[in-house]
Symmetry: none
DNA sequence: CCTTAATCGAGACGGTACGTCGTGTCTTTAT
DNA sequence: ATAAAGACACGACGTACCGTCTCGATTAAGG
């Protein structure tokens, strides 16, 4: 619903109310509750409909540049109201497991999906070993960025992003030869 | 306030109300608002007073064992009401930067503090290079665990914890010689 | 609202609270505030709906008897919770002129209306001159009774009522012939 | 207490709070409660100390002029915060009879006292029969004025005051000869 | 002159009511 | 028959005063 998105961008997730969404949409609360069971569901749907967390994975031919670009994109997204939305939804995951699953599906697929595309290309170029794609190392960069955002807010300092990439991500995913040159060099 | 903690453990952060805390403490809402400016401040204080996020860093003589133990302790903590509290407070960090800072100080110091103690001992044993202590790599384990908890809830699967330690943490912090022996050994 | 009246009769105007009225009516405070802007408006409406200040003017064929009966009826009414209500509303007339007007319309019409009916019949019988009906003398009895109640409380002594009628009211409204016989006789 | 009077004139009786009086007097609420048992007592004392309801009975040599002047003085008083105070105190008379008595003594003596002085002089001049002094007729003018104020607020229209005097008061108190000359003349 | 009392201001306390807001459901209108 | 508009019961919010009570600090009186 476009009214929902407008409310989200104007007042943020915490201040969004069903009343206001209904009023702005020139409809009734009952209509909202017919389609969504509550605030969180409404917001999730509004976000995923609008492709809020969609990212087009950069393709520069260089893994490091790709990852840096991706993280900067994610950081920029979090600076928008989406940051507050993510916080709010994480808080509401305590309600039930079903709802938690829904949130994960709709909101947290973006980063991991994009990073796996980037990594897949690096694997094709021989920079990264294929087994990395299915390991925990694949999502370390986005995971750390998300953690950084949640604790320290957005935008994430570019130094932190570079740190995550050069100090943690690249040493973990680049294959041996690259690894040694990067870490010990 | 002990009444706050009782409410937190019984009904969780999301369901905690000032009215109930006041009633249980046999005091008045006014008294609560005199000391704390709202629900979040009250909870933060209650938690930090009670040392909710205090951890005694394990000391087994083995870095891997220490870290595994620590992460399991943190996971256990998050399984308690503290998990919901953390989620709620992260959501409320949008209010203002001052409040966000307060939350970071009171709640997120535990993990990093404990891991740095563990790492310091590993440095003394020669397992880890001193520069790691001040690098981003030091907190990678707790950061990833926190991220895992926030996305997937508690308790965190022990396999995930082991994965974080063996796939990410140890390769990043152990020096070359140790690295090969530990990971490939 | 019947709940309001019950509260009024049980605890009086001063002790009536919106919370209790809402609770007793098995409704919500919000519903009360939607219809009435505050305690006073609620009470006014409750009283006038229930015809609290309605009086059926006595018709004995004798002006003196009629007026005595009326004043005794009013005195009896004031002895009920209505007395406290009147006091409370008079105090709240300071709020604004609009509200003051409302109170006058709803609560103070009873006495004057009844007395004018009584006087009109006396006019038909030739006991009272028609011009009295529109003069200040018409309401002297009820005005003095009200003043007496406000200063000295209810019930008003029957001697006072008789005094008001014989010493003040009748000498003022009875026509010349009657006047001389009554006052100087 | 001067602070009480200042509060009364600035915010009126209804808005007067013990906290503010204490703050303005640079003293403590405890000190107030040591001397007075509540708001009403405090206000009564403050008023009677300051002679708020003191009136100096006019002496023009003419009963009608005296009474008109007196009523106009009273009306002027009621236009000041004293009007609201009177309303508030009348409302609080429901508390207990002892308190009601206190209010009557302190606040309602002014009008009646002054009018009896005026009437006494008229008796000396032979305009009024002595028995009037102890009858209900003596206070009719002030009683009606008070009633008028309570119902319709202050200031009381001068026409009303004149009406009370010429239509009600004088016909009741002037002796026969004066009566006919005054009313019909 | 010092000490002990008493008194004071300042203000926190437990309560209670306020009036507002948001929720999720249920009812009324008016197509 | 549907859907907007909105009333409804519920309950938490944060504020304001109430009247009481506990502090130190400042006096004042007594030793």
């Amino acid at each position: 619903m476009t009214a929902t998105l407008e409310e989200l961008t104007e007042t943020g997730y915490a201040s969004l109310t069903m009343d206001r969404v209904a009023a702005r949409a020139r409809t009734s609360k009952a209509a909202l509750y017919r389609r969504w069971s509550g605030r969180a569901e409404l917001v999730i749907d509004a976000c995923s409909m609008h492709g809020v967390s969609d990212l087009d994975p950069p393709d520069t031919g260089d893994l490091r540049a790709d990852v840096l670009t991706l993280l900067r994109q994610v950081s920029a997204k979090m600076t928008s109201p989406l940051g507050g939305i993510l916080r709010g939804l994480l808080a509401e995951m305590t309600r039930d497991e079903e709802f938690a699953r829904l949130i994960r599906e709709r909101l947290h697929s973006a980063g991991p999906t994009a990073i796996s595309v980037i990594l897949a290309r690096a694997v094709e170029r021989g920079q990264v070993e294929p087994r990395i794609l299915t390991s925990r190392r694949a999502t370390v960069a986005t995971d750390l960025l998300r953690n950084q955002f949640l604790l320290y807010g957005a935008p994430v300092d570019d130094e932190v992003i570079i740190d995550i990439v050069d100090e943690v991500f690249l040493p973990l995913v680049l294959n041996q030869r690259e690894d040694t040159s990067s870490v010990s060099g």
